[in-house]
Symmetry: C2
Subunit: 147 residues, 2 copies
């Protein structure tokens, strides 16, 4: 690690904070916050998944996910099913309503960023585009299940 790596990291950190503050402004419309959107996304695309797996995928502790899932279930966005093999685990899956809302909510939320992407100069846009995929992998721990 060197000084330049720190500078890069510092910029990424700052950018991450401010990016999320920006998209938060559209939350009120979708009813889906960043955490819910992220978790619901894993549920929708990651198929039936247990609480533990979801916690690991989201890099948070089980109690945090447990509550979040309870709320998503409350709103009819996901459903649970006891695993018949191991009755300790419950498998979470998205309902069709959840699937629909995810796509709409993500759309609205991400549109805020997409606007700005569209507003970049061609060079900058290209630069950000090339980094986005790298960043996505980079943002997850090395042993992350989705890596």
């Amino acid at each position: 690690m060197n000084a330049t790596d720190r500078q890069i990291a510092d910029r990424l950190h700052s950018a991450a904070i401010h990016l999320l503050r920006q998209v938060r402004t559209v939350d009120s419309k979708s009813g889906l916050t960043a955490s819910r959107l992220s978790a619901l996304s894993v549920i929708v695309f990651g198929g039936p998944i247990s609480i533990s797996e979801l916690a690991e995928a989201e890099q948070v502790r089980p109690p945090s996910i447990s509550r979040l899932v309870k709320e998503l279930e409350w709103e009819g966005l996901v459903s649970r099913q006891r695993d018949s093999q191991d009755r300790r685990v419950t498998r979470i899956r998205a309902t069709s309503k959840g699937r629909r809302l995810l796509l709409e909510g993500r759309e609205r939320r991400v549109a805020k960023l997409a606007e700005r992407v569209a507003g970049l100069s061609p060079e900058e846009r290209e630069r950000v585009a090339k980094a986005a995929a790298t960043l996505e992998r980079f943002s997850l721990p090395a042993d992350h299940p989705l890596s």
Copy 2:
């Protein structure tokens, strides 16, 4: 805006969420959370600054900053001073302790990311480095005071 812009935005969104979750793991050591670190940074480098200006710079509402500053003051990291011209406004400045802690805390927090930057392949690292500066500007609203 097109489909690709959305894809880029989607990746940035996801990356931002997971980046911050990663660095949060070092919070316990520094005692400085992301919000405090970010605000303190603006105070340290942005000189004496009012609550309103700070709120705008941080893209949050005044009450949020008001409380945050109160806590920073509580911990001796910043001090306030009534503006003699306009006695409604108070100017916030960092104490030397605050300045020191900012640098240390940022260091620790960012080190978590810097490790990973250092672990990238040369091509990826280059890609991320080039995007970092763009991202930093990109993450702020167009009319942002620090833009």
